[in-house]
């Protein structure tokens, strides 16, 4: 049995914030959100550690049950979430927006990988923003994925 998915809800400027943490898999149960999602809703993926194909199925089914009048925003999307958004039709529904996400970067000087938090507005013309290494503060980071593929969701 997996450690499971935890779902917490909170309020931010009158908007409902739903925080997911743990694994999204075949045991994930979204029924606690039934009839709670109204108006503007923010999904926060900061604490999600894994999503597998069965979890994707559960997620898509859950999204289909959400009232069409609800405005959805995805926040703090981990790399695994962005990969699913790019690959799976229905992982993010029409009209929903991604506010912020994590992108893989690499510092050659430090030989260290970094997951850098970006806002969608930071990505111009499908190009990853040029950033300094948060550790050595001097070297430019190298984007550690294929930009065309990774930023597909922004199109």
């Amino acid at each position: 049995m997996s450690e499971g998915l935890k779902i917490n809800t909170g309020n931010e400027n009158g908007n409902l914030v739903v925080t997911f943490s743990g694994l999204i898999d075949e045991d994930s149960n979204f029924s606690s959100l039934e009839n709670k999602l109204i108006g503007n809703v923010i999904f926060d993926f900061e604490e999600v550690s894994l999503i597998n194909s069965c979890g994707i199925r559960e997620w898509v089914t859950f999204l289909e049950s959400v009232d069409k009048g609800v405005t959805l925003t995805y926040r703090n999307c981990r790399q695994i979430i962005i990969e699913q958004v790019n690959m799976v039709h229905g992982f993010i529904r029409d009209g929903a927006q991604i506010e912020s996400f994590y992108a893989p970067y690499y510092c050659e000087d430090c030989d260290q990988e970094h997951k850098i938090h970006l806002n969608v507005s930071d990505v111009k013309d499908g190009q990853a923003p040029v950033l300094k290494c948060p550790k050595c503060k001097t070297a430019d980071l190298e984007f550690d994925a294929i930009e065309e593929q990774y930023f597909q969701f922004i199109k």
Binding site: M1, E26, N52, S53, C54, E83, M87, P104, Y106, E113, E142, D144, A145, I146, Q149
Partner: protein, 502 residues
């Protein structure tokens, strides 16, 4: 568009290598799947350093070499692999194929989730099996608990008789055991013995009922099944002054798990007892009777009570788990649900046959012993009707002999079809290729056995007998009773299982 670009749209990780084993292409999903960034993949000089087999079931190098030499496709076993710089382990099948003269395509089929769900499913099924077993036992113990008042009364009666007779013995022995009192002493001893035997029978019945046992079907007399169930509940009926009557049963056989069916019958009888005892009617009785269907392919046992019947709104719920109309703590609501499962396992049906304010009748319908045995054997051997099988028909009236052959099926995978009825055996001849027939001597001497013998021109006939020969009869051989495995296998020239054991 480069043809390889099409591979970027696939949800399967794919790598293409050249003759130097360098990765010259990987699709988008490969990077996502392995968690390796393009930078890391670029550094890999030889594809064989890309991954390692955790359980040594997949040897990529052998697959690649084989495809380079022979062409075609090589598919690996299912095995565990891990990629460089990663602690994640994947359960994969790897498919290698020739992409062009100097290119080899490697495709990873990730089965990790299927495996994990399969393992989880297997574990849950095992847990369910254990729970079911516990439920069945709990139901039996509950039945015994409910019947215990009646049973203890049943035990205390012979105990009182035995105790009284020991006092008589004491008095007789104190009077120096005069010759005239010798008969009285023997009579007292006989009374004590019969009382103890009666108690022993009751406790044995209880012990047998709660015994978990191995699920095993046997040929049994339906009469015996009913009588042993009735024996368990009779004291409770007597204590409450309720009549329990059983009709004179016809000679019906069943091929069932005896203890399981007994549990069903006790449940139905207990329910009938409750229904009648709660009723305010003057006539308080429960009847048990049986019937055979017109084609003799099934039989039914009916349990009829003179209670107040079941409310219409409850009729559809009575077989649901945990449904009960009894007071809290009096019933678990599992009796009919478990009974229903047990009967379904026997390809039978349990139903509320009649229901009115005058009482209700439950029916329990099971396939005839011959059909049950046939279905059981068909499930075990999967190709009973195949002409290559050696199918042996055993036709006998003796239950011990019949069960000897069904045990050979279980232990050695034999194909012994067993029957007590000449007419049903004829039906078997019509649908299955039977090569040999063993006939019990009692049936062999019956007139209508000729209807079997006329069907069996090319079939070897063997007869059970206590003697070595049967004169004047054209048969292939005699099998001595009681039968032994060695004798049967030798005479029938069968070679099944371990020959040493007898």
């Amino acid at each position: 568009m480069n043809k390889k670009k099409y591979l970027d749209h696939l949800f399967e990780p794919i790598v293409i290598i050249n003759n130097e084993n360098e990765i010259i292409y990987y699709n988008h999903f490969f990077s996502t799947f392995t968690g390796l960034s393009p930078r890391k993949i670029k550094k890999i000089e030889d594809v064989h350093s890309l991954m390692s087999s955790v359980d040594n079931k997949i040897i990529l190098k052998e697959q690649v070499d084989k495809v380079r030499v022979n062409g075609g496709v090589s598919v690996s076993k299912e095995g565990l692999i891990s990629f460089v710089d990663s602690e994640d382990v994947f359960n994969c099948v790897i498919k290698v194929s020739q992409a062009s003269e100097d290119e080899v395509l490697i495709c990873f089929n990730d089965l990790s989730i299927e495996k994990s769900i399969y393992d989880k499913y297997r574990k849950q099924v095992e847990e369910l099996k254990v729970s079911y077993k516990q439920l069945v036992l709990a139901d039996k113990l509950k039945s015994i608990g409910e019947l215990s008042a009646g049973i203890s009364h049943e035990i205390s009666n012979p105990l009182t008789i035995a105790s009284g007779n020991t006092e008589i013995l004491e008095i007789l022995l104190e009077s120096q055991g005069e010759l005239s009192s010798k008969d009285d002493i023997f009579e007292s001893i006989s009374n004590i013995q019969s009382s103890l035997l009666r108690i022993n029978k009751i406790t044995l019945n209880m012990k047998k009922f709660v015994h978990e046992g191995i699920k095993s079907k046997q040929f049994v007399s339906v009469d015996r099944l009913i009588q042993s169930s009735v024996a368990l509940v009779t004291p409770s009926f007597e204590r409450l002054g309720i009549t329990l009557s059983c009709e004179q049963f016809s000679d019906i056989s069943a091929y069932v798990d005896e203890l399981a069916i007994e549990q069903v019958l006790v449940n139905l009888l207990k329910n009938a007892l409750d229904a009648v005892s709660y009723s305010s009617k003057k006539i308080k009785e429960v009847k048990v009777f049986t019937s055979l269907d017109s084609s003799n392919n099934s039989f039914s046992i009916f349990i009829q009570d003179s209670g107040d019947g079941i409310h219409e709104e409850d009729v559809d719920k009575i077989f649901n788990p945990f449904f009960t109309t009894k007071e809290l703590g009096e019933g678990t609501g599992m009796g009919l649900s478990l009974s229903s499962q047990i009967i379904e396992e026997h390809q039978g049906e349990i139903s509320l046959f009649e229901n009115s304010k005058e009482g209700c009748t439950f029916s329990l319908t099971l396939p005839s012993a011959e059909i049950s045995n046939y279905l059981d054997l068909e499930t075990r051997n999967s190709n009973l009707e195949g002409t290559e099988n050696i199918n042996v028909l055993v036709l006998d009236e003796d239950y011990t002999n019949l069960n000897f052959y069904t045990s050979l099926n279980e232990q050695y995978g034999g194909s012994f079809l067993v029957s007590r009825s000449i007419s049903k055996s004829i039906q078997l001849f019509e649908s299955i290729n039977i090569n040999k027939v063993i006939i019990g001597e009692s049936l062999f001497n019956k007139e209508n056995i000729n209807s079997i013998l006329s069907l069996a021109d090319d079939i070897e006939i063997y007869v059970y007998s206590e003697s070595d020969n049967i004169d004047g009869v054209d048969i292939s051989g005699v099998i001595k009773t009681p039968p032994s495995k060695k004798d049967v296998f030798n005479k029938l020239e069968l070679n099944l299982g371990d020959e040493d054991e007898d």
